[in-house]
Amino acid sequence: MRVTRAIETAGAWLLGIIWIAPLLYALWAAFHPSAYTTRFELLAPLTLQNFAEAWDAAPFARYFLNTFILVTMILAAQLVLCTLAAFAFARSRFPGSGILFGLVLLQLMIMPDVLLVENYRTMRDLGLVDTILAIGLPYMASAFGIFLLRQTFRQVPKELEEAAIVEGCGTMAILWRVYVPLAKPTYLAYGLTSVSYHWNNFLWPLVITNTVETRPLTVGLAVFASTDQGIDWAIISAATLMTSAPLLLGFLLFQRQFVQSFMRAGIR
């Protein structure tokens, strides 16, 4: 027994170390002059120069703002749309609801990249090319969100709903007072996956945006990843840490809640 436990612990440590190694390396490279990028000396001088250079190399403040607007906009729209759709699918019977739900699930099977050209055409017809709204629009009616919330809503006991009706609640009030509070862990878990997905999304924002005013961090960061003139790991690391810092901090601060809500919502 003790042996298996020891092996498990060792395995967990090993996986943990492999997982965190790139991050540790990025920390090392970002805080040291580029001469020490691949020379690990304990007493190597520390510096913030790399961050200053990375910050100057691109309008990161603007990119941060764009990404922030983008993820909040998408998340807000997703929460409203998915809640209403999921509630309808979970609790009301209407003709064709099965087929409709099947169509929504079908969206899960299609990679968004396949729709690149079609989406571009739609945005052009709407006159939205090169806007932040255009980056978010294709993702707002999220099939994953609808599915996840529908499953959660279906687990809510009917009795609670009936009690609310006795208390005189209308349909919207039931949704707001009974279902939404009970699905809080699901919302939290879904919110995190949505934010981190759109924080990191690259191809679609690259294609649909043209100017600094609309581009998110990932597209701005791509300038550093190009290798024509050789890679300066120090500056790349600094830029990468900078752009992923808000997500990392958020995760570290709310780690416990996230892990719990993931367990409860069943997303792994």
Partner: protein, 427 residues
């Protein structure tokens, strides 16, 4: 002279003072210019400045630059936008994407456009035009072009008892120098003699070796490759031998992106890489370094590389005119010289090397002229129909040989078979 209606109109039309307001009242013709930032730093600022200068000189036109990451990202973005009905009017893309763009029916030949003279199209270095022309038409205007050169660390040359101002002249000497420059401590090598990067796009550097071995990799129409030629395998064998037989070159795959850093940290004494690295090396090398032509095999040789300007079919006649005048504006001798000095790319016309600014620059920093002097020996970078797939077939087999999974000969035969299969339908 009697005053008729026609003479009055003629006078009015030719009087610039009277005609000017009508021109100004029109909104300027706008064209979008997709441009890859293949290098970080000040380059977008340079392009912005050129666009503004162009708008001042030509109030009728306006160029809107769109920066789009690597060459690959830019091609994806451009083609997606095109299929979505929103193509740019002009774009800077790899010269090797020529066949892809023609097959996609995306671009126009510059020769067919009104007001483009043959003299301008012929004013570029022939080495750069090789990749810009096919079927007698010019599809790309050379703009940010580069080639492979040798960089060496003069300090390490001196330590090894070599003349620091004499780079190796030929393949045999290259091996001999590299042997002297390789330092070992027991089983580990602390300093390698030389390094030819092989990650990402090994075919480009390999093409330097094959050219030096006096063999071409493809025909001008982009429909045939000659990977199975014994001389190609011979060139590959030389590369493999550097690592395995002479042990002067790191074994396995050498990273393109970190090769300059290895050079700065004295882990390698000689490296092959692009002229586009010149400014980077000049800024970061803490020791005197030399830049020279690649050593000769049976002959000297290097492929060209880099990006050309393409004009897209989506442009209406006014936009085509704008695209032409913008391309001409970017390639005037003064601007080509300025661009070359600021970025390290090779200025694209012989005339630009005659400008006072360029002559002063070369006098102060002679390595800048090495790429130009090597141009007569340069050949077109490997480019065929279905370019991505054909180069992938070659890349995969090159890496297999460098990793020791295949022998040089069979590897090149496999690459040729795969390329044959892909290219058959284009003949």
């Amino acid at each position: 002279m009697t005053i008729t209606r026609r003479t009055t109109l003629g006078l009015l039309g030719s009087a610039p003072l009277l005609a000017a307001p009508s021109v100004q009242a029109q909104a300027p013709v706008e064209i979008t210019f997709n441009y890859p930032i293949a290098v970080g730093g000040p380059i977008p600022r340079l392009i912005d400045a050129y666009c503004e200068e162009f708008a001042r000189a030509n109030p009728r036109f306006r160029v809107k630059p769109i920066y789009a990451g690597s060459y690959q990202d830019t091609l994806t973005k451009t083609l997606t936008a095109m299929r979505g009905g929103d193509a740019p009017q002009i774009a800077c893309l790899l010269s090797t994407d020529m066949f892809t763009l023609i097959d996609e029916d995306a671009v126009l030949a510059w020769d067919d456009l009104p007001g483009v003279e043959r003299a301008w199209l012929d004013s570029f270095y022939p080495g750069f035009l090789e990749n810009s022309r096919t079927g007698g038409k010019t599809w790309g205007i050379p703009f940010q072009r580069s080639t492979v050169v040798l960089y060496w660390n003069k300090e390490l040359f001196r330590e090894a008892g070599l003349n620091p101002d004499m780079p190796p002249e030929n393949w045999a000497q290259q091996v001999e120098f590299a042997q002297k420059l390789t330092k070992r401590q027991g089983d580990t090598t602390t300093q390698w003699g030389m390094q030819i990067p092989s990650s990402g796009f090994p075919y480009w550097l390999f093409q330097a070796l094959t050219t030096q071995n006096d063999v071409r990799l493809m025909n001008e129409e982009g429909t045939r490759t000659f990977f199975a030629d014994p001389k190609v395998a011979e060139a590959l064998q030389y590369w493999v031998d550097l690592a395995n037989r002479y042990r002067v070159h790191p074994p396995g795959i050498v990273e393109w992106g970190t090769t300059p850093r290895d050079f700065f940290e004295r882990k390698v004494a000689m490296m092959w890489t692009t002229t586009g690295n010149l400014t980077n090396v000049r800024r970061n090398a803490q020791f005197p370094f030399g830049v020279g032509m690649l050593p000769a095999g049976k002959r000297r040789g290097s492929p060209t590389g880099g990006g050309n300007l393409y004009v897209f079919k989506s442009a209406n006649p006014a936009q085509r005119e704008a695209a032409i005048s913008f391309a001409r504006f970017l390639t005037t001798p003064e601007r080509a010289a300025h661009w070359g000095i600021e970025t390290g790319y090779v200025a694209v016309t012989p005339a630009s090397w005659q400008t006072p600014a360029m002559q002063a620059y070369v006098a102060e920093f002679p390595p800048a002229a090495v790429a130009r002097d090597q141009l007569p020996h340069a050949v077109a970078e490997l480019s065929t129909h279905e370019n991505q797939r054909v180069t992938k077939a070659l890349n995969d087999n090159l890496q297999a040989a460098l990793l020791g999974r295949k022998q040089a000969g069979p590897a090149m035969n496999d690459a040729q078979q795969e390329a044959e299969r892909i290219l058959r339908r284009y003949r």
